[in-house]
Symmetry: C2
Subunit: 496 residues, 2 copies
């Protein structure tokens, strides 16, 4: 079988990945000397280190490979970073593709800008360590874990041309909200919604423990995701050379499969729930950092979760290790003398709004349009005398929401979300003009279920809130209804 | 193959089930005339109806079949009712087995007591509609859904002879906490812990929607639970006669499998994570209620979720339907003239504390013993002068917890719970005397993982809190540590 990548492509993609990794390590550690033109000393290193390396090389690996697919197929794709603590990686990629400097001109694509890029990270007056809202291309910060897939589906609803790539860390995969959110595929219409490409990133460890999904058999893992309704594709290994080829081949297959599903749905309409592909990416945690530090296992272990090595101002040996580590990325091959990414490498990034850091879907405000609204006065309950009329407030509001739905049906930018409580809360009139979204099996006696329904009901407040957040953050409108007894299940999501 | 049940057993078990169903319907509807000795009139019916029928016949079905296994093998078994809104069923069963009248003498095993049993349910001054704490044999109320399996595992930890049967509704199965709690089997030690027997009850509908797990293919469902690490056994149907035999056969298999796993573990010690059995029970929602009411599908549909039929005081036809429905259970065959359960039926229930309504594990207070505690003064940090000493409060507390753990190691009644934050919160000294519980795969370089570890770490605050609640409610002690940023994820659990 022919390789997915030519030798040149392979070398360039690896260079792009090394550049992202280099910039990530630089953000975590460096204060000065960004291109390592001078021997590294402790004065070049931040006094207090705070950032997460462990997940970052995997995130960078995914990013460059998605870039390849975007360019190859002119895809409209966004990147949701479940392990949002991998901020250095997403910032590095936005910088490499140019979006970062466009949004933040002070962080220019040169040595001075790179120094500022490094300095600002997790530093007073700088930027947070997570994929925060100020990160170009981010609509999901991470932090409180569990909502990446719900956000991804929320973004995909009513965006038929969008592919939402969503990296899920194996730590986050242990949370409850994440564990149920895989079932979102029972609510996604292949005709009128976009696609979600989940990438479960098994790097094996959390803060101080192995992860559950990395420690079950291959067979169980395969069963689990088939049970969730996906076709899992496995990309597993540690040798970058083999992994680039394997990831490229797999993405070729997976994107072709998504495009086939979409084409079939457009041609034939809805004919049943597709088994969407997903990727299981198993790489070492902290991939490409030193295997051991001070005699302790670091790469492929939980010790690389955050800053793999501290005490930089007390242990000169650590400064040497850092310098050697950063030089394994061969920065001189990646950046020219002025600190600019070499053009043949920069060429790998998509252009304009196809860059994942510049995709407008991740900047919902730029897409948001007002809903067309009926006059609320038309729904007033006439009360001729005190106590003369009995009416239910929510039922009246249901009529109002029905008309809001009707007025915006063409725009496809309004949905209702509820954990199976839409009707018992008396908002059922909205079902006069739409249905409940449902692409799982149906029976003839089912009540208002349809693939293109706009009322989203699953018995998970987390899921409903996550979908809603994803839908809103990509510039649409929604309404969440829930019993007052249970709405506080998602208090913490709301607060975050 | 020989039948699991003789004809006599079969008939008696069906009678027991009908008795439980009869008492459940009676609780939901009746105010008087409990044995239907007189023609039913609207005066015998409560003015306001509130209760959940849909899940109840399935819960009753499981109960009588578990009773058979308890008697057959002298099992120490408790029953966790995920769909805790099925209160009428659990109350009915506690009444049938005698525990209810022992705890509440006014609810006597006769006609007068039955009238009171019916009247008190969901009635001012009476009892709640859920499996509330006052229900004998209950340690899990339901209400806020998602924690049944976590509670079940919490109850099973350090109770090596206990089998915790746990019914999970297919509504609850959509919640996040439930979706991850299936992975609890990676933390259960077959040598020193008990067993959990999950029974996923697919009755197909929630309040007004179908359920996700009832609308995926058999193959996906099978894959899902194999992926979670279980061996699923399917009991599916609607004909009671066939279903009794199928359930009995399946339980014979499943209990034998649990006993084999336990015996192997006792003989050989820990040799790997067992694939525990679980049951998928698919029955019609509202099983045995009228198929249609007022021309609308009711049995096997969401309309039977709560009270299948209202307007009892306005529609005389509904009174007739209720009377006919209740008479399908043939109460005169079940209860004698005085209202007492006929002895040959009553004989099916286990005796004494083997009755699930009387098992002391569900009444933790009766088993709770004080922890042996070190003197906290011994852990004081000596501070010779203000500011002269640097110490971390949690690290000192870690030393204290280490000694608490050490002092109670023999009693096996103390565990720590944390979403992978035990060490980063600086309580790591406790690992000097115990390990983290872990029965999934291990590597030689793993750090303090062991099947009999007493520090429970999974990256799910819901799961940790659920385990802790199950552990405490069965009379043991625990400690939960979590970052302050994320502890409010389980605010609602705590409040409930």
């Amino acid at each position: 079988m022919a390789n997915a990548l030519t030798d040149t492509e392979h070398a360039l993609m690896d260079a792009y990945w090394r550049a992202a990794n280099y910039l990530s390590v630089g953000q975590i550690y460096l204060y000065d000397n960004p291109l390592l033109k001078r021997p590294l000393t402790k004065e070049h290193i931040k006094p207090r280190l705070l950032g997460h390396w462990g997940t970052t090389p995997g995130l960078n690996f995914v990013y460059v490979h998605l870039n390849r697919m975007i360019k190859k197929h002119d895809l409209d794709m966004i990147y949701i970073t479940g392990p949002g603590h991998g901020g250095p990686g997403l910032v590095a990629n936005a910088y490499l593709e140019g979006t970062y400097s466009e949004v933040y001109p002070n962080i220019s694509p040169d040595e001075e800008g790179m120094k500022r890029l490094f300095t600002q990270f997790s530093f007073p007056g700088g930027i947070p360590s997570h994929v925060a809202p100020e990160t170009p291309g981010s609509m999901h910060e991470g932090g409180e874990l569990g909502y990446a897939i719900s956000h991804a589906y929320g973004a995909a609803f009513d965006n038929p041309d969008l592919i939402v790539a969503c990296v899920v860390g194996d730590g986050e995969a242990e949370t409850g909200p994440m564990a149920t959110s895989w079932h979102s595929n029972k609510f996604l219409n292949p005709v009128t919604d976009g696609a979600v490409l989940p990438i479960l990133h098994l790097n094996g460890y959390k803060i101080a423990n192995p992860t559950v999904l990395a420690r079950i058999s291959h067979e169980e893992l395969d069963h689990l995701f088939r049970g969730y309704g996906y076709i899992p594709y496995f990309v597993e290994g540690h040798d970058p050379k083999q992994m680039h080829e394997l990831m490229a081949t797999t993405l070729d297959t997976v994107i072709a499969e998504i495009q086939r599903i979409k084409a079939d749905a457009r041609r034939d309409g809805f004919t049943g729930r597709p088994r969407w592909p997903m990727i299981v990416l198993r790489t070492p945690k902290g991939w490409t950092c030193p295997k051991e530090i001070d005699g302790k296992r670091t790469e492929d272990y939980w010790r690389s979760h955050q800053v793999p090595m501290g005490e930089m101002h007390d242990k000169p040996a650590h400064v040497r290790i850092l310098e050697e580590w950063m030089k394994t990325y061969r920065p001189a091959e990646l950046f020219d003398e002025s600190g600019r990414l070499r053009p043949e490498i920069a060429e790998l990034a998509p252009r304009g709004t196809r860059r994942m850091g510049a995709n407008p879907h991740t900047n919902g405000g730029s897409l948001l349009r007002d809903l067309r609204m009926p006059d609320f006065r038309d729904f007033a309950v006439t009360v001729p005398a005190p106590g003369a009329v009995t009416a239910e407030a929510t039922r009246v509001m249901g009529e109002f929401l029905r008309d809001v739905m009707k007025l915006n049906m063409q725009a496809r930018n309004f949905r209702l979300f509820s954990p199976d409580e839409n009707n018992s809360n008396r908002w059922q009139d909205v079902l006069e003009v739409t249905n409940r979204a449902w692409v799982a099996e149906t029976y003839p006696w089912d009540d208002h279920l349809a693939p293109d329904g706009r009322v989203m009901e699953m018995l998970s407040e987390h899921q409903c809130q996550g979908w809603l957040e994803g839908y809103l953050l990509t510039g649409r409108h929604g309404f969440f209804s829930c019993y007052e007894a249970f709405i506080h299940i998602i208090d913490s999501m709301f607060n975050q």
